[in-house]
């Protein structure tokens, strides 16, 4: 992929000129959203979330359904008005300097088409470029570049409604990128896609992140994607951030107490393992994988296995995946 020179550094030239380069790409402070329902009930979707994302970072916001990821993304992009708190994009306050703030972002929103299915890919890109205030003269080469990169150039005049789901999502991502925004907000960009389409979109997002140096906020349920792509991960649960660390650091923090125990025998013979353990089986026996916070507990578990005459094959600490960490964080709260 050719690198877009205007965004390679992740810092827009105007930002470098007016001193905004020193500011984080995203700075949200005590962002809170309380939805008021018709029956007077109040639902706190996001509860005093504060985050700072430096320029060029790929930031993963993970959490179970209803944790507050989409509301946070929508507050960042100005689509949902916060109950309190502030969101700044490249230094521009989303509430007070909306016009400048929204120009800093391109967004692919969850569960939405994001583009017009009855228009062609080319028409969509021209429309969204002009919507951002660019002239056709500026947009056309950019649109051609994006469509060629996405392998859609030959089908540019076909309506998006006739595309496969993966291709439609690629058009949505291209539309979000048409004006070359320094920040991309990708809310579940692979949701609802089949394996092949998800892989295509994942490849594209990886390239954009690694080769164009964009600041990306990514929410996804595909934890392998987040682990592969994100420099930093925050886990949100019931509207609150429960962990926020660089991805390697987050994984390292849980490395010490994650063990994999292999025994011969049938899974029915295995005693009820402690919380957080996952039991797997294969031709050679049973694998128990989970957190063991201290050696006493590990010895206790091994003793139980021996008492059931399950021959021990191996015991080893394992590198946790982001999924292991995520499950632990969500279960522990």
């Amino acid at each position: 992929m050719a690198i877009d020179p205007a965004t390679r550094s992740g810092t827009p030239p105007a930002a470098r000129a007016d001193g905004r380069a020193a500011l984080p790409a995203i700075d949200i402070a005590s962002l809170t959203k309380v939805y008021e329902r018709g029956n007077g009930a109040r639902l706190t979707a996001v509860d005093a979330v504060s985050l700072t994302v430096p320029r060029g970072q790929v930031f993963g916001l993970l959490g179970p359904n209803g944790a507050g990821k989409t509301t946070t993304i929508k507050m960042m992009s100005g689509l949902v008005t916060p109950t309190s708190g502030t969101a700044r994009l490249n230094g521009y306050d989303v509430a007070r300097q909306r016009s400048q703030a929204v120009r800093q972002i391109g967004a692919v929103l969850e569960g939405a088409r994001n583009v017009y299915w009855s228009l062609s890919a080319w028409q969509n890109l021209l429309y969204f470029g002009r919507l951002k205030g660019l002239s056709g003269r500026v947009i056309a080469p950019r649109a051609e570049w994006l469509l060629r990169e996405l392998d859609l150039w030959e089908r540019r005049d076909q309506t998006v409604g006739g595309f496969s789901r993966g291709m439609q999502q690629k058009v949505a991502i291209a539309a979000a990128m048409i004006a070359g925004p320094p920040i991309l907000l990708l809310d579940e960009p692979t949701i609802g896609l089949d394996v092949q389409a998800a892989r295509t979109v994942r490849g594209w997002v990886t390239k954009v992140a690694r080769e164009q140096g964009k600041t990306i906020v990514l929410t996804t349920h595909q934890l392998a994607l987040a682990q592969e792509l994100c420099d930093r991960v925050a886990v949100i649960r019931q509207g609150r951030i429960v962990a926020d660390l660089p991805t390697p650091e987050l994984l390292a923090r849980f490395r010490q107490d994650l063990y994999e125990i292999r025994v011969r025998g049938r899974p029915e013979a295995v005693p009820q393992p402690p919380d957080g353990f996952v039991i797997g089986t294969d031709d050679e026996g049973v694998t128990l994988r989970g957190p063991v916070p201290d050696h006493e507990r590990l010895y206790g578990l091994l003793e139980q296995l021996r008492a059931r005459n399950l021959p021990l094959v191996s015991v080893k600490p394992v590198e946790p995946s982001l999924e292991d960490v995520f499950v632990r964080l969500i279960e522990e709260g």
Binding site: D4, P5, A14, V80, V102, L131, K132, V138, A179, P182
Partner: protein
């Protein structure tokens, strides 16, 4: 990735600064034209709307006149009622079609994307409305010509009448903004629009001249969109009054005030509803 990707050069000028450097007025004008163009593109994707109106509206008018005339068409009633009825396609396109599009955009998430540009969604809505109003005007002229020809009734042409006619269109635009605002916060807006547009066309002189209504109905009718401006149009076209005379009668000033107030009210309602939808997180 495409094999061509490595050979096609990346563009060099792009990013937020490319937008910020432009005068805001130019941004707005470009956004309005962009929205108008999209509106037309989407509209032409469904030509069935246009064809259906051309085919069904004139017979619908004739059937109403036939029923009202107790089995025959009263030719004396045709010019005044046709002058009122001609605004039906304009109102239909500006309200039913636009609301359908807005609701579809909310469901598909493109309405949220409209908020990620530098120009207010209320202005974008105006950009979307204008071409549909223009298509509606062309359609109205065709329908009047079609109906007048079918009945052998002449409707005089009058250049001064363009002013009250423009006020009628402005009235419809204000009403459309108001209804689109409601659509952002009230899922039942479609039903409300059906009811309200029915009342408008029952009372604005499309079927009976306004003078035939009881006094209270005339008062109600004059508050509704289009009635005053249509009455002013009828005075100019059918009674040969000058614009000065219609102005002096108080009809034209009130029609102007009505149109301006409705546009302001519609804009405010849309902006307020849009903000409310953002507070409630229902923008799509």
């Amino acid at each position: 990735m495409a094999a061509t990707s490595s050979t096609f050069p990346a563009p060099t000028t792009i990013g937020p600064e490319a937008m910020i450097e432009q005068p805001f007025g130019w941004l707005v004008l470009r956004a309005l034209l962009n929205e108008a163009f999209k509106s037309l593109l989407l509209f032409w994707r469904r030509p069935v709307n246009l064809i259906l109106m051309l085919v069904t509206v004139p017979p619908m008018y004739l059937v109403f006149q036939f029923i009202i005339g107790d089995g025959q068409i009263d030719r004396a009633l045709v010019p005044p009622t046709l002058l009122a009825f001609m605004f039906f396609p304009i109102l239909y396109l500006a309200t039913f079609v636009v609301i359908g599009d807005v609701l579809e955009e909310i469901n598909t998430g493109t309405f949220g994307q409209l908020h990620l540009g530098p120009v207010s969604p209320a202005l974008l809505l105006v950009g979307r409305l204008v071409p549909l109003l223009l298509v509606g005007i062309v359609l109205a002229v065709l329908i009047v010509a079609e109906t007048a020809l079918a009945l052998g009734v002449g409707v005089p042409l009058s250049v001064p009448a363009l002013l009250p006619m423009a006020l009628t269109v402005l009235d419809i635009a204000g009403f459309a903004l108001l209804i689109c605002g409601l659509a952002l916060v009230l899922p039942q807006t479609g039903s409300i629009l059906h009811l309200f547009s029915g009342i408008v066309f029952a009372l604005n002189g499309s079927f009976f001249p306004l003078a035939l209504f009881p006094g209270w109905a005339q008062v109600v009718a004059q508050v509704l969109p289009t009635t005053l401006a249509i009455e002013a149009t009828q005075q100019v076209v059918l009674h040969g009054q000058s614009l000065g005379a219609v102005w002096a009668s108080g009809l034209l000033p009130w029609a102007t005030v009505h149109a301006v107030v409705l546009v302001l009210l519609g804009t405010l309602a849309f902006v307020a509803s849009d903000r409310r939808a953002m507070r409630r997180g229902t923008l799509g």
